[in-house]
Amino acid sequence: MLARPSEQPPFTSAYGPMAPERFEVIAKRQETADTWTLDLRPRDRVDFPFAPGQFTMISAGGAGEVPISISGPADDPAVLVQTVRAVGLATEAICAATVGQVLAVRGPFGGSWPTEVARGADLVIVAGGIGLAPLRPAVLDALAHRDEYRRVVLLYGGRSPDQLLYPEELARWAERGCEVLITVDSAGPEWLGHVGVVTRLLRRAAIHPQRSFVLMCGPEVMMRFVLETASAQGISADRVYASLERNMQCGIGHCGHCQLGPTLVCRDGPVYRWDELGPWLEIREL
């Protein structure tokens, strides 16, 4: 079994990891046409401690359960924040939940972003699309401990300007000492920012290869290209961490649906150091 990149809070449910707990929707914000952020408060306990990078299994009614990364700050465990994109029955039901509605949540599961390894170094966060949601807790954690890092850089690629997550927050992060570079794949004349793939930003950010740690999340093909670019710039794979998505169902390494080579993503991931996992990702059948 591969080592988890970072320790995470112990599982704290009184009912065991397979029993969902009740969480009430206390606020809801629309991020893009199909993506919503929900603030959830636990009904059966006072807080929900987690570490940046962990995920929950969440469901609304009988529509099915899905793994969703936690996107809120870890230093506010009283509220569970989840950003969800409506792409199927289960996620559509979650996104349709109204304030006051109760959702079923299990977790938190998995390991966390190893933000501590980058302390004293440059932290480079590369996000693609909704991949910014799992990285948001890492950004917030880094900004809460800003003086412990040298550079904190966020490179964020999206499909188009109207599909970027947390646009107002991105500006605030920049004010708090995060270098924020954004690019989109396509845009009309009104967009004055970057156009192009996120790997181009990696070159423009002038990353110091021996002084940087990279955290990334996004479509797997994007992460492959990011690694290629990072490698060409001299950043070794053991300084790159990625959060993976697989078919996670139990969340505790029992069912085996999320197996990837020698590892179960729900239990040993979803965050991996790339040199430990990269070779398995090259096997197309996995």
């Binding site: 792409v87 909704i130 396509s186 004055l192 996004g218 479509p219 994007m222």
Partner: protein, 156 residues
């Protein structure tokens, strides 16, 4: 004060080029500034120049009837703009609009081609370097075309 040779020597595309060759290509170059909003060239124009961006931002666009100007890519220092100057019929395939006032080194394309014809080793060096730029841009464009952030490629 920096000479043109100094300015182009630090550009990655010319990295490692000998001083003699830098001096040769510097003979084809001049400094320019371009205000925001100005077009460096339009699709179909004669590709008689090559640009090295020193500062500012330039956006490559394609005009689509009914949709207006669509942004394809933005370029910044120390990137180069254009390879249409290398191949007949030497016509630009895109528009290049200055987004943020730009400092540029512009090269006379006919001058560069002439020096490359006269010295094939220089020609090979330039072709090799611009081929690398083209490959990088091609790979980026392919990734862009995959629409990886669409529903089918949803990550989380």
């Amino acid at each position: 004060m920096q000479t043109i040779e100094d300015l182009i020597a630090v550009a990655p595309v010319f990295d490692g080029l000998s001083k003699d060759y830098l001096a040769l290509i510097a003979d084809c170059a001049r400094n320019e500034r371009a205000d925001a909003g100005k077009f460096l060239f339009h699709e179909g124009d004669l590709a008689d120049r090559l640009f090295l961006i020193r500062s500012g931002t330039v956006r490559l666009e394609v005009y689509a009837p009914g949709r207006g100007s669509l942004a394809i890519e933005t370029l910044e220092a120390p990137e180069v703009i254009g390879w249409s100057w290398l191949f007949p019929p030497y016509r630009w395939h895109l528009d290049a609009r200055v987004l943020v006032e730009a400092g540029l080194v512009s090269f006379d394309a006919a001058c560069l081609r002439g020096k490359s014809d006269a010295d094939h080793e220089l020609g090979y060096e330039l072709m090799r370097r611009f081929a690398a730029v083209m490959v990088e841009r091609l790979m980026a464009t392919r990734l862009q075309l995959l629409d990886i952030y669409g529903n089918a490629g949803a990550a989380v």
